[in-house]
Symmetry: D2
Subunit: 381 residues, 4 copies
């Protein structure tokens, strides 16, 4: 049995890797070692432990380490703490491979601990491009990884151009799209299941889904950026389902913007959720008339579903996208005009840009079969 | 005044960056903030504090953080600790730029703390190639850095192929070569000045200089690898000046090999030093008939001086080299035959492969004049 | 000049030690090294940096280290982080004495770092008793300290009974009382100066001041405990000035209780402040008809001022108190009846139980003159 | 099943607690959670993992965290790291009780993590007195602990005088004495079993056992102190079995003293061991004519066995002792004269001062049956 240690640091990463976890768990020759840390353990950013329990995914270790201070020093220290404690858990769990996901700051901690300890490192979602600091982190992790599971052919080419060995790069598609291909029809009441605050608009009428994070290189701007979106959506007077931002630097500004707006406009048909299981989120997404925000959801999941998406600002700059996406600046007029255009257009045909829906199984199969050549074995002992 | 924070984590990095430190210190528009950490504070790996004091280079902070356990977990934890505490010191020192050097594991800690905190990061010696885990670290740091000071044109091309912006890459030459170009004739007695152990061979006769580190991806092999070298040099019966290995994983094996050999062969004309100031080291190097080992010194400094060098094993695989270098496997016969070939050949003409001797000044001047465009200022506040 | 390093970890500790800081700063033979860390750097728990700037107290180092997760693991990890980084700053600042205040968890980090490093440790407010986990911490720190500045004769006796050397225990009075003795009449508008939320009751009419923290050994109970108080004060319909709780475990429950109550009862004459400079807080306190809560303010400051105080629950159990304090259980009826009794009674005469108002100067003078016998000098070198 | 988490930070602590571990492991209602950290994981200070495996004691977690730098900053940082990671492991292991042993610096880390997390803390060997910094640590831990297992009646009285509740203090005897009462006759060859360096004196002739640690408050003096002992024993020309010192600050001086002495006097009948399983150590001790050094072994184990002991310097000052102990200053003449006196006297009758040999079982039984009243349950939820 190969021991595969997957480290999850945030709600978003869990959604992206979920089908990989299940496929590892179901694979006869793999043993899943799941380590949960960072904002993935904090209630207000979406504690994923209950979801893991619901999926019967066993947790090998929890490592609470998120610093409170909303500034960039705190973010660096959370990363440092993660390196320290992941090293200890790797020394105890002795995994054959460590898997890290995407491009959040804490994911580089996973990479550093594994590489330092000569444990083969697999990276999911390398080679992509977005418009912010995440690109640097993602590429930096790609340089550290021994094994790459990429979402698109473009991503594969980009890694090869960066000097990485083509044999180590596997184009498996993006596991976050797997869930989209398995979605079912709307079969739950989100207000009852997830609570949240605000009005409870009728979801049989046309509604929007909105998810806007702070931009890590523009932390001082998060409040006015969310304000622009809030004003634009207010002008539309449409039922809207909003999600709270992730824990990135700048999140306090985004959260404050939302809270202040809610106090001033208690009567708008807006509902706010903290978190939602991915399969429910996909159902909700599938039912909406337009997605708005700067999450990769607009580009990744929505391209598979053909949902019209309005992508705001720089956060996804450069990410490969289907015809369903319109980009706009983070000002009220631009957002308003882009959403109106998408509403007029309606649904798009879905694309296979980010995969066929079987990335989870393909990644698990590769993890079970790839020979790991560890350099330290090159010479005879 | 721009505040330039340089973080030094090891004796070797200090030698490489020394002329940059002096040039920053002497620059009218730069303020040097020198932070010393890792093995650079530990006596047995070469505490650099006395050298800094001798050079009148003021130290802004010392951060002792090297873990003792000689295993890879310890190395990861030292890196994590460094991220945590560097973040705190950056928050207190508020540098305009952070400078990190080369490719040791701890140097990625500097990069992570700076990038996390949106402080512009300059990287010296990016784009080079060696044959071990250092390549991954170096490239990973390059992906994180905002500004690159490279040693060779090849290094520059390699960074551009990796997707980095050409405007941010400055070919300044390698600062470790600056010292070589400033070397003076032999004007000190190394035994009196640095103590050390072993015989005190006459340095007017032909002698070798030997510096062999453990290879971080072959940590279990460090003892037999140094044994091969010790046996080869013994067969030559030549006066030899040896230096202790650095603090990388595997160092205990290398050190143990040297100690056991010394007990068995107390009468050989070998002398062992822990450390030496760079300008003295250059003098010693200039006087030798051949350099042996796996340090970059053989390739970098020796190419400028035209010193014959025998480069053992994989540690420098891929690094650009002049005609003065012969590579060999880490076995006694290969080493012996390579050294004999070099002794027969004698000196080579020096090359300018790694620069003209003014890299320190050029880097300082760039740091003083380059406009820093921080992404977070892209949008108006 | 003796270097005196004072470590402040929370808003409350700053208020307690403020006159000591000023006295050290003003002393011709002392150099103040002020280190600020923990919740004292976090906006929502009362960042003290602006107050230090206003007082012209120079900060030698800030160490942001508060973990976010509201659970006891986070509290332990914050303490561990503090030990690590305080050790580094002590190694850089090289203080002659380290001063730690009172009994918060993070203050033991200061003690451990100093004692580990053989730096003389002075402890302010040892030997007191309260009703919770703080007693253990306080006594544990007393056992580590080299020098004790106590508030009362009872505290001194208690330390001697614990086996500590009488010569090392100095009865100086409590520095937090110094401010009380220096208070001026009400000369500021708290709503304008400090903002806050809620109604703005007329402070010329009789008003209450309320400060209730979570109890660290009853963390699961913090919400219903604050609810009891909120209901009791609501029944009184009196103007009330509330302060947000500190960062102790359980604080989320207290904060949530206050927030939910405010939403349901937006019209009550309640105002909520996050923080207030100590001298302003004393003015506000002096003007109130009764203090309610579980802060030591009710016992310490109010005893000097003769302000009637209602002390709720176990948090101050055992602390020496004057006749101005009535204890009650944390249920609405008990609180209501206790407050009504105090309102009927009116002001009490002030006492000198906690000192004469010159504790700051006395402590500074001792720090300047006490000979430090460090054990390591017992033997000749 | 109650989960009992025992944290071991050093070889010495393992010897002290071994019979408690076995008794917990054998108890039908207790589950042992063994956490190993600090110098107990480092080869040169005596890695205990092989001994645990030999005893079939399962290890729940290893936490390598010992910093290398031989100075007091490193010691503080190791303590801080231990707090951080123990908190995480406690959060994962969810023990019902945490057990900490004696008085080393790292043991306070165990106490702080447990108390911070509201986990009941049991302390073994509280209330004793020695002559150095350990007293402060031991008393500080006693103040934090919920439950005390003490070695002697005097220790119990001392804790009660310190204000601790008599009901929580259990006089069980010292578990390190249990092994003494179970010792068997000499049945192994120490040179074959443990290697070591130096001559191999005949152990059928009279021999000494010597164990001298650095004194943590006299770190600068460790070299001359061991030199005094080395010279005294040399003058006696007796076969001697020496053990290397523990990892306390100052250990480099002690080790350096031993190494230099060995080089100068290669022919003396001295043998040096790094480490030895406790049951073997007891056999070796039982066979010797005199114990010399500053370890508690001379006072504790030797009193039960009636072995003459020479106790050097301040390290054990104040510890209760039987008639078998002679104290002396750390100078050659004093040591020489004390050892000669003991050799002339010969064996003493054994005492029961430190227990009857069943402390392990008694502690396990208490851990299984004592009701844990956690303060946080005082109020109804």
């Amino acid at each position: 049995m190969r021991k595969i240690c997957v480290v999850i640091t945030a709600r978003a990463s869990y959604s992206r890797i979920k089908t990989v976890l299940t496929a590892i768990q179901d694979h006869p020759r793999l043993l899943l070692q799941l380590v949960v840390t960072g904002s993935a353990l904090v209630e207000r950013f979406g504690n994923i432990i209950p979801y893991l329990e619901a999926e019967k995914l066993p947790v090998s270790a929890v490592i609470p380490n998120l610093l409170d201070v909303e500034n960039t020093t705190a973010s660096a220290k959370t990363t440092g703490l993660a390196v320290i404690e992941l090293a200890t858990f790797f020394a105890n769990l002795r995994p054959d491979v460590v898997v890290t996901v995407a491009d959040r700051f804490e994911t580089i901690a996973t990479a550093i601990a594994a590489v330092n300890m000569n444990i083969p490192l697999a990276h999911v979602q390398g080679g992509e491009i977005t418009g912010n600091i995440d690109d640097r982190i993602r590429n930096s992790i790609s340089q550290l990884a021994d094994l790459h599971f990429v979402s698109t052919e473009n991503a594969r080419s980009r890694l090869i151009r960066m000097g990485l060995s083509p044999q180590k790069i596997h184009h498996t598609g993006c596991p976050s799209i797997d869930l989209v291909h398995r979605h079912r029809d709307f079969n739950f009441n989100p207000y009852e299941t997830y609570g949240g605050v605000g009005s409870q608009p009728d979801l049989n009428a046309p509604y929007l889904v909105i998810l806007q994070h702070p931009v890590t290189t523009e932390t001082g701007h998060s409040k006015w950026q969310i304000d622009s979106t809030l004003r634009a959506i207010t002008a539309l007077k449409m039922p809207s389902i909003w999600f709270w931002p992730n824990a990135d630097p700048g999140t306090a500004g985004t959260a404050q913007g939302i809270r202040a707006f809610r106090e001033q406009h208690p009567d708008l048909p807006f509902h706010f959720f903290k978190n939602m299981e991915s399969h429910h989120f996909i159902q909700l997404l599938k039912g909406c008339v337009c997605f708005v925000g700067n999450s990769s959801v607009g580009i990744r999941e929505c391209s598979a579903l053909g949902i019209p998406a309005v992508n705001i600002g720089t956060r996804q700059r450069g990410r490969e996208r289907g015809p369903n996406v319109i980009d706009c600046l983070p000002d009220t007029d631009s957002i308003l005009s882009a959403v109106r255009h998408q509403l007029a257009h309606g649904h798009y045909p879905g694309t296979r840009l980010y995969g066929n829906g079987n990335a989870g199984e393909r990644i698990a199969e590769q993890l079970a079969t790839i020979p790991f050549i560890i350099k330290k074995h090159l010479f005879p002992a």
